[in-house]
């Protein structure tokens, strides 16, 4: 199955009953798949008039209690930041897919990781955090989709699948697993008419003295809980590694190929692949790099996640960076070559 289609099907199987989106390459297979599959599954599909409308439809569906999602690619995700910020403030769950393409501006339609900052450092306005998942295979994209819906509901927070044009277009076998997540309590905040209860309201405007500050403290406590409870990463051949390559998503997968090439030549290289980008596995990266002489961060941008790696290590001396922006993508040989260069 294509990555985009696998994500759509995984969403349906995770109980998603509302999709709204707007066409943009390279994620169009998601709305195309949803346009027939969602009604078949008894849910609602809407091709919205804009990304702004689409994210606000997702907000509305979440207000009404549905598991709701939208998908887009970088320029469209910029437009969705409004609704993401509002949902974070209103504590509404939602699932958002960003099949990143090159930027800034209209950029191009090749795969990219240039929206890392936008995803994990804010993106929209205000003091909030967005659960962010970075898959490296079609199977993992499907699995993380199911998990993202669960965690979004569990913590009442939007969740983002931050993938890219490469994985969206890649065809790989995928198995859809049974829903293995614990049952969540009924949503006691949704608006479905006040029959048998007091009226409810959902809002993010908090004007009274200290009210918003209190709300921000409450959100911060929630984010701290998520940071303590949710951190996913893959460690690959790190046991004896003298060089640790740190990369996420498809680049993490390519880096494993580079590590294998290097090991054939006796260079002890391992890979640390963050799967959650927020929460970022700071402590685990610190531990993974503790005995390494060198750390190489590889990204499809000119250096975004590398800033978090530096924060994790608090030691710049062993960190090197390889960046391929604007849709460029390194082969394993290029990453291996960079490792050879830095260990000289």
């Amino acid at each position: 199955m294509k990555g985009n289609e696998a994500i759509a099907e995984a969403a349906i199987l995770a109980g998603c009953s509302f999709y709204a989106g707007y066409p943009i390459t390279p994620q169009n297979q998601i709305p195309e798949y949803m346009s027939w599959r969602m009604p078949e599954a008894g849910g609602s599909f809407i091709q919205a008039e804009s990304e702004l409308a689409a994210i606000n439809m997702v907000l509305g569906a979440s207000v009404a209690g549905a598991r709701a999602m939208t998908s887009s690619s970088s320029p469209g995700i910029s437009l969705k930041q409004e609704g993401i910020s509002y949902m974070a403030g209103m504590e509404l769950p939602a699932f958002i897919v960003n099949m990143q393409r090159g930027g800034p501006g209209l950029g191009n339609i090749q795969g990219s990781q240039a929206d890392y900052f936008q995803s994990v450092k804010g993106g929209g306005h205000g003091d909030y955090r967005l659960l962010t998942f970075s898959p490296s295979t079609v199977q993992e994209a499907a699995d993380l989709t199911a998990e993202a819906f669960y965690l979004a509901d569990k913590y009442r927070n939007p969740a983002l699948l931050l993938s890219d044009g490469i994985l969206g277009q890649m065809i790989e076998p995928v198995e859809f697993s049974e829903n293995k997540f614990p049952k969540l309590p009924p949503k006691d905040y949704i608006l479905d008419g006040c029959k048998g209860r007091n009226p409810r309201s959902l809002f993010s405007l908090m004007m009274g003295p200290g009210v918003l500050e209190k709300h921000n403290f409450k959100l911060a406590a929630k984010y701290a809980k998520i940071e303590a409870e949710v951190r996913k990463f893959e460690e690959y051949k790190l046991e004896d590694a003298e060089v640790v390559v740190i990369a996420n998503g498809i680049i993490g997968r390519i880096s494993k190929g580079a590590a294998n090439l290097l090991r054939k030549d006796g260079i002890k290289c391992g890979v640390f692949r963050p799967i959650t980008l927020w929460p970022f596995p700071y402590a685990e990266i610190k531990a993974a790099a503790a005995n390494a002489k060198n750390v190489l961060v590889v990204e499809q941008n000119m250096g975004q996640m590398v800033e978090d790696v530096r924060l994790a290590l608090l030691d710049d001396s062993k960190v090197s960076f390889l960046g391929r922006p604007g849709g460029g993508c390194p082969f394993p040989e290029e990453i291996a070559g960079k490792v050879r260069e830095i260990i000289k």
């Binding site: 709204a20 919205a48 702004l52 008419g193």
Partner: protein
């Protein structure tokens, strides 16, 4: 003794934040009366705008959500698709609906979303202190048109009902004003009809309410009512613009 007048159940006993002489309080009450009369309070979800009515959830005694500026129709569309048997309405001002939310209202109308839209036209951005709105009349002074709206610079007031009437999806569009008891009764009939259209599954309906904003207009309430009747109603013609509910 027979009680003939009281607070509708759909209206909370809260002091509102509106200025003296503002039309919002009247329209809030009309909506509350209608929700009560239709017996749908427990299945109604209101969508509040950004603007003076942003605190509507403090005033109405049913479920209300806030929406980003201009997006209530997109939010309402989704709420209605998820919960088709509920009564869903948006309450929007002229900046919200006719400026930043033009795209959302046009496409909601075009899809004929089965929702009710109450559109308050007071010819300025009230909440932010009286700036020019898309509905500000030519020559009208606001804080951003201090010598009066110059159509050569700022274009012309948008007639929302007439604009939406060209779309196949609109089922009921009427313009009213809340200036005096007779017109307030007319406004109530129009708003009730718009809610009834939704209950009957007719599709998109909108009632535009010409409403006074004395503080930002720099007029006392009585002069403001006169301005609505004599100036606004001249540009924005009252009455049924489109009715395909029968």
């Amino acid at each position: 003794m027979k009680q003939i007048y009281c607070r509708p159940e759909s209206l909370k006993d809260n002091a509102n934040s509106y200025c003296p002489g503002c039309g919002h309080g009247i329209v809030h009450r009309l909506i509350a009366e209608i929700i009560d009369e239709l017996g749908v309070r427990e299945k109604t979800i209101g969508i509040a705008p950004v603007g003076c009515a942003v605190f509507a959830y403090d005033y109405w005694n049913f479920d209300v959500t806030e929406a980003p500026h201009g997006r209530p129709p997109a939010v309402a569309c989704a709420v209605k698709r998820v919960l088709p048997d509920r009564v869903v309405f948006t309450y929007q001002g002229d900046g919200d609906l006719a400026s930043i939310g033009t795209n959302e209202i046009i496409h909601s109308a075009n899809r004929s979303d089965n929702i009710t839209v109450i559109f308050i036209n007071n010819a300025n951005y009230g909440m932010t202190g009286g700036q020019m709105a898309p509905t500000t009349l030519p020559g009208m002074r606001t804080t951003t048109t201090q010598n009066g709206r110059d159509v050569k610079v700022s274009g012309y007031p948008v007639r929302v009902c007439e604009l939406l009437a060209t779309l196949e999806g609109t089922r009921y569009l009427e313009r009213v004003m809340v200036t005096d008891p007779a017109n307030i009764n007319k406004a109530k009939r129009a708003i009730k009809k718009a809610f009834q259209a939704q209950l009957d599954g007719k599709g998109f309906s909108l009632v535009e309410v010409l409403s006074p904003c004395p503080v930002n207009w720099g007029k006392v309430p009585l002069e403001s009512l006169k301005f609505v009747k004599e100036e606004m109603a001249k540009y924005f013609k009252l009455g049924v613009i489109k009715d395909e509910t029968v």
